[in-house]
Symmetry: C2
Subunit: 348 residues, 2 copies
DNA sequence: CTGAAAGCGCTAACAC
DNA sequence: GTGTTAGCGCTTTCAG
């Protein structure tokens, strides 16, 4: 069944020791950079390593080592293919690589079961710590999946039921700022587009939206059902097929924003209906009109999460911390459109 | 120095065996799903596993197992943060997860040294195989970094000096098709924008560009120096500051395309100069005019690469294969603009 | 400064 | 069916 070359042959420390004419332990010392080796022996060992192309087996060393570190972290993001997660991932990688640490990563896809399976898989591979963008609303499972003491940093969404640092965007404040901006431009009928119930971040943004309306004494108009970004375009079309359509939209997520932009174009309303989106996206400045957004900073989130995680891995045992990464309103045009007079008349 | 809880305490198979009142080996059999265990013993083992929250240590089992598999693959892409790599990554992940395999990933950033370092790091972590988007033009180092027999699949770019399957976009043909398209719309002065020397894919696209010009008996205009996508915008501005500017652009990469779009806007030439870009990008259909592209299919590339890799991991030993993933011309408007009469007159 | 012996958690080979 | 023994490649401990 198994071919001879199925088992890849690699020289072991023992092989190196034999060719160098020293003991196994001396090789181990050289490989691990322990200074207590005579120079001429160390040189012989290095020569043998080169000759045999010896590479250490991290799995085996981890097994015996006191610190049990694999120099590998696990990262669970919503979807490594989307721009937000990809930018965050990249920032984590840069921090990790600077420390000689490598990254196991997976997409949780809004699926709590997948979240748990990935956490388990990374724990079985002995990740030194985890960065998790929670899909479910209960992370207490981490206590059973992870060895005691494994640090976890939550990112993008708050984790529940497990003690870990969190790195979060200022969702509520950012959304409030966005909606205030629309109100300042004269809008009174501002619709919210996003999954306001199921997803924690969207829920926070909905809260911020309600806060801003409340301050101005405005009522939220009836909101369309939206449980997945893929339905954003059709939900927007529906919204403008009803009576009393809004004069402005606040969209809670970048893919929702893009869906809304597509719908407004099809309706030829893109110059009439104001729009502010949460989360920036590439080319937002190149569409007509350019899209005003509340930009998050996924790179800062990834960087912060990674740094926090490495502090924990290095032994920091203080109580869980929260890092708030500020959002920034970027005025590009779509959010500065005034309420459109024609439609306003039509809906009165 | 090290705290007691620095070493995360996890129950071992031995602990499970003791609480279940069976031998270590029986536990091993249950964990590995071997059918030759009496049901009542298996039940006792499973109960002990649940009670102790036992999780197997993959590193230890890998050490002793005959197949030496870690159910982990390594993926080296250009930059996990860019849309092309991110989409490819996601497709690889889906194929891997369907097989219970997990993904170690890193960005090579056009840096051959980083490529080699990552390959080594993943080899030390005993990846079962590698998917590599080569940054350098020599992959012979893989023979020394990887255990003999470790399969490698090259993706996006051809690998050199190491035997592995390749998954490639039809770069030459796709570029030829793009340029033929511009010629068919009346263009005779078509500029190439991209790194035609250093990067293999861009080089292929440059070849395709030359082929199409040659067929039509056209000479390539002087091309601006462009060694990194970040300079695409300024290179485009320079191009149109010179005499005899082109009436059409062919851009070799999506970030170059975006830079060119930005530059044409600033020059208010975006409705006058035709543009076809290689590689699609999000919102290409929403800018004005919508951008005609030769779309690659990064998801198909990732899927194909992963499937090929798993065939090799499963023992397939046939000679290296090449998989060509077709590109598709998507007509959106920018590539269908006719040569602009005013500028044409000005340059005659 | 160097080496011999023990053992990390697990599976393979072979007994019973 | 089940258990015992050996040992994967490495680091630790401790003796020289």
């Amino acid at each position: 069944m198994r071919q001879p070359d199925d088992r890849a042959v690699r020289p072991t420390m023992n092989d190196v020791a034999r060719t160098a004419g020293v003991s196994l332990k001396t090789v181990s010392r050289v490989i691990n950079g322990e200074p207590t080796v005579a120079p001429h022996l160390a040189e012989r060992v290095r020569a043998a390593v080169d000759a045999l192309r010896y590479r250490p087996n991290l799995g085996a060393s981890m097994l015996r080592r006191n610190d049990r570190r694999t120099r590998t972290i696990g990262v669970l993001l919503e979807d490594v293919g989307n721009p937000f997660s990809a930018a965050l991932h990249r920032a984590v990688e840069d921090e990790a690589l600077a420390r000689g640490v490598h990254v196991l990563i997976g997409s949780v896809d809004e699926n709590p079961q997948r979240e748990r399976d990935l956490a388990r898989a990374f724990a079985e591979r002995h990740a030194d710590g985890l960065i998790v963008a929670p899909a479910g609303d209960d992370q207490s499972y981490l206590a059973s999946e992870l060895p005691a003491g494994t640090p976890v940093v939550f990112v993008d969404r708050q984790g529940t039921g497990f003690a870990g640092d969190s790195v979060l965007a200022t969702n509520v404040v950012g959304a409030t700022e966005a909606v205030r901006h629309l109100i300042a431009h004269g809008h009174r009928r501002i619709a919210f587009l996003g999954d306001h119930a199921r997803i924690a971040t969207a829920r926070s943004r909905y809260r911020g939206y309600l806060d801003a309306l409340g301050e101005a004494g405005l009522e939220p108009p009836a909101k369309p059902e939206l449980h997945h970004w893929s339905t954003a375009e059709s939900a927007t079309l529906t919204l403008f097929g009803r009576d009393h359509p809004p004069t402005a939209l606040f969209t809670a997520q970048n893919l929702v924003t893009i869906g809304a932009v597509r719908a407004l174009r099809r309706l030829r309303l893109h110059r009439d209906v104001a729009l502010v989106g949460f989360d920036d996206f590439p080319l937002a400045d190149l569409v007509e009109p350019a899209v005003t957004v509340v930009a998050q900073d996924p790179a800062a989130m990834g960087r912060t999460a990674a740094r926090a995680l490495f502090e924990r891995i290095d032994g920091d045992r203080q109580p869980p911390r929260e890092f708030w990464i500020p959002t920034a309103l970027i005025r590009r045009g779509s959010g500065e459109l005034p309420p459109h007079p024609v439609r306003a008349r039509a809906t009165l």
